[in-house]
Symmetry: D2
Subunit: 366 residues, 4 copies
């Protein structure tokens, strides 16, 4: 019996953070099989910062929906990754990832996906090398599940990682194991950073000795070109979704990736579009490949400059720098894509170079 | 004796809204002649909305500087156009426009500029066809001063137009001439709209009968492809800066323009770049033409959609839609330009199609 | 058999918009009887404006909780009124209103509550006198249910009212019945205004002939001193909660009310505190009465002035005027109350005088 | 010959940050003598945070005005203290402080003022005990100039203090004297904290050994009850304005002060109002004393709670916590004052207890 699977990715516009109706409709129409869903990403219309409740609202609506189809236990196995913030013309949407058993022959470079949840961390491990190592092991396991043979075939690794709350910090300190920080907001960045360097370790992007406690959250010359991390209060483990290519999968989808060197760098993206036969501006002919989803990270460069010109994102006390960066980078990418229903996230510590970030494209081959 | 002039445009980064030091330095270095300055545009780092004082602060610093070089009277003749809002990576900068007498031979398609101040309007004329007609006449006069023969040679018309304050409305009503609105904010949009349709009239872009009181601020299918308008409390006249091409001017600079059909539309911009020999991403070879300045307008589409996908700009009560639109469109353009020291303004009533806007490029020919 | 009821009001801090755990705990502890719940008010930590999803998130969590206790049908009968925005030190909290059958003797001035849902409106009725009349009838019915004999005994009327969406406007127009506006945001204010004038009609605060289509949303000298209205997309009816005093009820709670004439007016509130034996600053002795809940409305005066001094709330393009007003008025009241776990809502069209608003206090008598 | 002086304080509404017309009018009317001006405070309508240019805009307008009356040199001697942020109903205004020679007899408790500029600090002294000591010495000198005999007679000390820019940090590090921080924003808080503890030292509020580098910016149980500090990029010295009472001064004005223990604490303010014969709500009879100016500081408590109830100011990524706190505390005070043309500033490190702040009232005695 064949173990071949086909990865399916369905992009669906959402009318509100709890609008799961398009997913329900796709299930009813048979174009999404709920039992095959491995992960759902959501780009929701909050501020993407501390007090963004659109993420939790979306997760609640998704879990409720999944429970009606899968039962309470199996519904928990689906990785749900919400990213808040649709600045500029960014359009709220879902990305539903399925792994469907297939009788077809494997196809070269087919999109593959693997999901894994690491064991829970102790609070004092968050934002330190212990977390990076745990994530690195988890990426290896997720790659195994995805049947991705080589780190070179991995194009995007999404990690949802924990953060340090006051309660967690207190508990750890009481055990004589002080956490890296007692500042919740700071712990989010440190956790994202450690998780991303864990991805970099697993993919062989950085040497093990470069990933030290001192480097995490400080030395941004050390980074992954394929990691995307977000931290959430709801878990103490690291939830990992690996997207890559595998000879064990089939179907029309593939994935490719690049890195923006800074907020205006289109060179890699344009090369990717050419390589994959994608039309710039989205107005390709009938034969062209089709962009199913674009995933990227955005951040304001810490130098206060882009290509030598001053930006004001870090000095604007009215709009968070992450919101500025998301809207602007969304524009840079949307001009090439031809629309703005793309997945741009903020908070890119050790995810691409300072001020830049990873970009991955899921492509339906022509 | 020759009447040939050379238009010079100097783009200078500013460190703060009142940072005229770079202009002073250029004057000291002899690269700017204060007596030749016809206009100064400033992209300042405020919110670009009602309570943006960076514009007035910049104007105060500029006038003070100009007075030391030109004396009080001549300093008033320089058109000062400030546009607030440097969302995303947009970089605050000055554009200093000079008209320098030249002994050189005229050069085809050379950049030409003309400045004109219309007579003051009565409050009840603002936002109505009377204003459109006054602006139309003013554009014709500014074209004459610029030596631009045909409307087709005009590529950008900047208008600073008045608004209706409570005092002005009261005064007009007392005379039995009620103004179009007593809402100051609304009057700004109506004034920009009437001014832009005035430009459209002068350039033959719309039929005279299409410019009615009812259409101004309401029927956005009627628009100019080359107007850029901003309203300010400090004047009752319309201050007009026309940029175009003229056979009576000389020098390496030229100007070209296009229109974005919507917020992600790069087709016209890419065509302009190709036509002018500009390198996409800013990394051209030695022989390539050089982009001196990019001027454009941005706005959130009133339909709530871009290419069929919902945007959330009009529903975001935390960030003004104009700020969203400016940052996003800046990204779309900056990816092509290769940096974000570009002049993107908001508030685009009747300036390009709904959700889109005019784009002009000042180019140093290779 | 006695028909005496006791109104109970439980104020519970919430840790997040979906944090119903404190209500669950009170139910488990027997201090709240889910079957007795008539209404739940929630002050949630969103922006209180268009894109505030904390309200819907809270409602979802509340309905889910109520369903587990009451079943699906009865859960729908509980009036849920969410008000977003906890600016300044305002503290997110729930107010759970119960009507509990009691064997005790009635007590003078006891708090009474009545809930009623009017029939659904047609879109073209929203924001017009038809809505005001429907609400007026509904208030009368809610008073009857509450056993409140005289309009003078009513101290607070909360109305959740509908709004006009694009779809509703289109449907109505197709029937030849154009709605009052096709602008959703504007329809919210008009609906709140019509509903509030409906309350004023029912309570005899205004003459019937003063409530005209022209006055709704325009003539703010006509207003209710006891109405509080909010509009939501989820209903076409008007959901009414009347709070007042009744001789048919019992228990230690009573209610009193006053009006702030402007944003700094404490005179009525201080008089209420004295009348009810409440300690200013919350630091009363053992015998003093206790403030259980404070409910009020806040808005920026449309004149741009408070007591003759200019305010900048309407000109601030970075913070919505409703957020400014809520935080400021919360401060005015919290100084007297002694804490900021109080229910201050924005959007006060025809609810108190321009720039002011109604204030109601639920008091546990000493 | 008498050395008796009279302190005059004129509060004037401003229509915009550069609106010095009311001061000019008062000079023209003879009610302000420009030669007697010692300090001008301005509450301007910016965001009060990093990118608030209303402060610099106001200073530019004030200096230009002063120069026309006093000449360039003397104009520099006037202390100009701008505080941005008029959240809620806070009203933009000027406070002009004069010291006028008087032939009258001294009057007990008369308002006295003294201004002093300390020597410039080195960058590495900012935010450290060296700064605190320099400010302490400066306060003593300003008291001497004010003729204030005892620290107990000091009621308000305003300090404008320097900050560390990247350039200053680099210069210091090159000399082998690393500054306390290289983060500009952080240096502002540390500088305000050190300056405030310098005030505390001078006034005997804290023991010398309590003011350590480690305590500055960290141990907020150590604080001044009368300091108000703001940091600005334009100076390396500390500019000090001491307000107090002196037997060497005359006139109807006096000053009193108290401390808010937290954001809702009115107890001290109400006691001050009673002590001084001021009417709560501003509606006193003819004989009552009159409040000329109210000065206070506001901040969000670092505990995330006020009187045990959670606040959301520190978690709101859309509005800076300082803006929330200013608007709310302004409300608390304005309810008592009876209007909101009061001077509430943010950023209260070591200025009053955590979450609270100093309050000073300048009173015209009845």
């Amino acid at each position: 019996m064949s173990n071949v699977r086909e990865a399916r990715v369905t992009r669906l516009s959402m009318a509100a953070p709890d609008d799961v109706a398009p997913i329900e409709a796709a299930i009813a129409a048979g174009t999404i099989d709920p039992a095959a869903i491995g992960a759902i990403f959501g780009k929701t219309e909050g501020n993407g910062c501390v007090n963004d409740f659109t993420r939790a609202f979306a997760v609640r609506a998704l879990r409720d929906m999944l429970r009606t189809h899968l039962g309470a236990t199996a519904a928990e196995d689906v990785a749900l990754v919400m990213s808040g913030g649709t600045e500029g013309a960014l359009s709220p949407h879902w990305l539903v990832f399925e792994a469907v058993p297939s009788a077809a022959a494997p196809r070269a470079d087919a999109l593959a996906l693997g999901v894994h949840l690491t064991p829970a961390l102790a609070p004092e491990q968050i934002g330190r090398t212990a977390q990076a190592k745990a994530v690195a092991a988890g990426v290896v396991e997720a790659m195994r599940r995805a049947g991705i043979a080589s780190p070179d075939d991995v194009h995007y690794v999404q990690v949802k990682c924990p953060l340090i709350t006051v309660e967690r910090a207190t508990e750890a300190a009481a055990r004589g194991a002080p956490p890296r920080t007692t500042d919740t907001l700071k712990s989010m960045g440190l956790s994202r950073g450690a998780a991303s360097l864990g991805v970099a370790l697993a993919l062989g992007e950085v040497a093990a000795e470069a990933v030290t406690d001192a480097a995490i959250g400080a030395d941004f010359t050390v980074f992954s070109r394929r990691a995307s991390a977000s931290s959430g209060v709801e878990l103490m483990a690291n939830e990992i979704v690996v997207l890559g290519r595998s000879a064990q999968w089939t179907g029309p989808l593939t994935i490719d990736s690049t890195v923006m060197a800074d907020a205006v760098d289109l060179s890699g993206v344009l090369a990717l579009f050419q390589r994959q036969g994608l039309a710039v501006g989205g107005r390709g002919g009938a034969a062209a490949a089709e962009l199913v989803a674009l995933l990227s990270k955005a951040e304001a460069s810490s130098t206060g400059r882009v290509r030598g010109f001053r930006h004001t994102m870090l000095d604007d006390s009215d709009i968070a720098a992450t919101r500025h960066a998301r809207g602007f980078v969304a524009g840079v990418l949307a001009g090439v894509v031809g629309h703005a229903e793309i997945f741009v996230s903020g908070g890119a510590e050790h995810q691409g170079p300072d001020g830049g970030g990873p970009v991955a494209a899921i492509v339906r081959r022509g």
